[in-house]
């Protein structure tokens, strides 16, 4: 099963310069854990040690926010994930 994650320009240096990566997992949370383990620079950026999504990030699955369903949201082959980092200020 392959899930595609599109990497924003500003995060590519954290993921070996890739524009998109393929990840594995049955849920959004498992996909995020896969990223954290494969790309050490993202450790604790996306999820904390307990697997909870860091509070500045919102995950979009096939263009729709997963805020309501959270990291338990199931994913299937061919799905596409976007990671959105929202900060205030500036």
């Amino acid at each position: 099963m392959t899930i595609e994650v599109e990497i924003a320009d500003v995060f590519r240096s954290y993921l070996d310069g890739e524009k998109t990566i393929n990840v594995e997992g049955r849920t959004v949370g498992e996909c995020l854990r896969y990223i954290s383990e494969k790309y050490p620079m993202t450790k604790n950026m996306l999820i904390d040690d307990d697997g909870r999504l860091q509070n500045r990030f919102e995950v979009y699955l096939n263009g729709e926010s997963t805020v309501s369903s959270g990291t338990d949201t199931p994913v299937k082959d061919g799905d596409k994930i976007d990671l959105v980092y929202l900060i205030h200020g500036g």
């Binding site: 500003v10 240096s13 904390d48 509070n55 309501s68 959105v84 929202l86 205030h88 200020g89």
Partner: protein, 616 residues
């Protein structure tokens, strides 16, 4: 006087040139902290209700917090306070750089100005002494030149907060500027400063801030620096401009004066993304002792836009307001717009919103080239946007219609143009969408200062601060938002930077530890929340006494009326009442008028405010 403060406020009557010092007692600091907390208390007590914000009876304050200039990470901020000429209610604006810490090193926690000077002046402060000096030679200069002239006169270590030509010309979206690109931009307080003919506050300071546990504070700082949040590296590399692509992708960013979407109107938004901005950055810029240094100084220009030396990196808000919001995909023009705003001393959000409104009015035929002096205003045309911006900053030609913000512009243009004026209560909407952004939606309409992305309540807070809540609904959100808002009021008043607080403090306990170590107070979470509520309620009491009722009114477009038809926020339509009602109930504010209840005022120990708002 306590710790963390210099224990001294200065009151300056600009008409009589009389300077009066007053002690700042520890009880007041503990109850109102500093910044806009202390500022609101002082103005509530000493400024009469109903004054013209640009008149002689209006007061203007520059106020630090008890963590400003200390070993607490991010203690770089000062707050300008006054009655907002944009909203008619409470006004404040917050800036980093070095001015806040150096005001304290100069011996003062706060300075409050009243009256209007006959001639332009600046306040010069040096190690516990202050005097007014002639600023006739500075009047008319931009903010960069003003800083340069004053540093030539008073030394290279001088720190300066000043207005530029836009503040002098009383643009209602004028900012107070420092460090050639840090802005106290919101609420129109640059116009208040201009109305007083006060060009600058210039400070040389070497005094030491008394700290309860001086050695402990040093050790604490080292320890906190080793355990900052996971996004610090990202913020160091990009700063706020790094999020534009992501905000654009999910339509959090504005497109086409908030009427458009990324998919439908500007799918090439990545052309102005963070990486493109950083490619033109010469070096990072940090505020006072900042370990993150999210700001930046740009390289010399190579294209047709000739920004000046020391031009700052555009922040996300500027990038969006002069980029996606007017469908401009040219990075250079955004850097140029930022530099123009910084030099003239004007709020980039307000200015960007006014330019977008003008383009939409032109596009819809409400104004023509006869109105604009020949300018053909078009979406995506950065050249005409820059031309219009310069006129706006200079109150020149059609720019004079826009320079007082979108609310006034709509009054001048008429013809139903108010539908395209994207302000809440007179304050232009910042570059995060209320449609789909529940926390922003509450903050924009319900806080004492409307349309402010930095008053969001729910973010950013270090882990362990916010209670659990359902992020998909307003139901059940009132108390959590109140708690977040209370923390926001506290750290803002204390003089901490939002980004340092949110990303720099690895745990909620570190914030408490910083307060305890600097002040010696045995504070806990309950005191933070109660004090934050008190600060917020004092700002709102100012509004209530002015006859200002809240919630502030949204333009229909920002409520999703009509709703977007494509993109991730398609179909979202909200009613005003559902947004704020639970939050006001949690605060003890009237859900129809926003007036703090007598009970809530008494609970917070604000008896004298209760007597004034509820006379017997």
């Amino acid at each position: 006087m306590g710790f963390g403060v210099m224990g001294k406020m200065l009151f300056v009557d600009l008409k009589t040139k009389q300077l009066t010092e007053e002690a700042l007692d520890e009880k007041t600091v503990r109850e109102y902290i500093g910044g806009y907390g202390l500022g609101a208390k002082i103005l509530f007590e000493r400024q009469k209700p109903g004054v013209d914000p640009l008149g002689p009876d209006a007061m203007l304050g520059i106020v630090t917090g008890m963590l400003t200039g200390t070993d607490a990470i991010g203690g770089s901020r000062y707050v300008m306070v006054g009655k907002s000429p944009l909203t008619g209610g409470w006004g404040d604006a917050n800036s980093g750089g070095n001015v806040g810490p150096f005001l304290k090193f100069g011996g003062y926690d706060a300075v409050f100005f009243s009256g209007i000077s006959d001639d332009p002046v600046y306040l010069y402060i040096e190690d516990g002494k202050a005097e007014l000096r002639d600023a006739s030679d500075l009047w008319g200069k931009d903010t960069f030149d003003t800083e340069d002239v004053l540093r030539d006169r008073h030394g290279k270590k001088l720190e300066v907060a000043c207005i530029g030509p836009s503040g002098e010309k009383l643009s209602l979206i004028a900012a107070v500027m420092n460090n050639k690109g840090r802005a106290a931009g919101r609420s129109g307080l640059g116009a208040v400063m201009g109305s007083k003919k006060l060009k600058a506050i210039a400070i040389n300071g070497t005094m030491e801030i008394p700290v309860s546990d001086k050695e402990g504070a040093k050790e604490m700082r080292k320890r906190h620096l080793k355990d900052m949040g996971p996004m610090v590296k990202f913020m160091q590399e990009f700063g706020t401009c790094g999020m534009l692509e992501m905000c654009a992708k999910v339509d959090d960013a504005p497109f086409k004066n908030w009427a458009g979407t990324a998919e439908g109107d500007m799918p090439d938004y990545d052309k102005i993304g963070g990486a493109k901005i950083i490619a033109q950055q010469q070096r990072r810029f940090g505020c006072y002792r900042c370990p993150i240094a999210c700001g930046g100084i740009m390289k010399a220009p190579t294209g047709k836009y000739k920004w000046g030396e020391h031009a700052h990196k555009p922040e996300y808000e500027t990038q969006a307001m002069f980029g996606t919001n007017i469908l401009v995909n040219d990075v250079d023009s955004i850097i140029m717009a930022n530099d123009i705003c910084n030099r003239y001393g004007i709020d980039t959000i307000g200015a960007g919103a006014a330019v977008a409104m003008a383009i939409e009015c032109f596009d819809r035929g409400l104004i023509t080239t006869e109105d604009t002096g020949g300018m053909e205003l078009k979406w995506g045309d950065h050249e005409v946007a820059i031309e219009l911006l310069e006129k706006l900053c200079n109150r020149e030609g059609f720019g004079a219609v826009l320079t007082d913000g979108t609310k006034v512009a709509a009054e001048k243009i008429g013809k139903g143009s108010d539908k395209y004026a994207m302000h809440v209560g007179g304050q232009e909407v910042p570059a995060h969408d209320s449609r789909g952004g529940h926390g922003f939606a509450i903050a924009y309409c319900a806080e004492p200062t409307p349309g402010r992305h930095t008053m969001s309540g729910e973010m950013p807070h270090p882990p362990g601060t916010m209670p659990e809540y359902d992020p998909t609904t307003f139901t059940g959100r009132g108390v959590p938002h109140m708690i977040g808002s209370a923390y926001s009021n506290y750290y803002n008043a204390a003089g901490l930077c939002m980004i340092c607080y949110g990303d720099g403090y690895g745990k909620a306990e570190y914030f408490l530890e910083a307060i305890k170590t600097v002040t010696g107070w045995d504070v806990d979470r309950e005191e933070i929340i109660k004090t934050g509520r008190r600060i917020n309620t004092m700002r709102q009491a100012f509004n209530a006494r002015e006859g200002v009722t809240t919630p502030w009114k949204y333009p229909d477009r920002m409520l999703g009326k009509p709703a977007k038809t494509i993109g991730p926020r398609a179909g979202i339509t909200w009613e005003l009442e559902e947004i704020y009602t639970e939050y006001y109930e949690a605060l003890g504010w009237d859900t129809k008028t926003g007036k703090p209840s007598k009970e809530s005022l008494l609970e917070l120990g604000m008896d004298y405010v209760a007597k004034e708002l509820y006379p017997e």
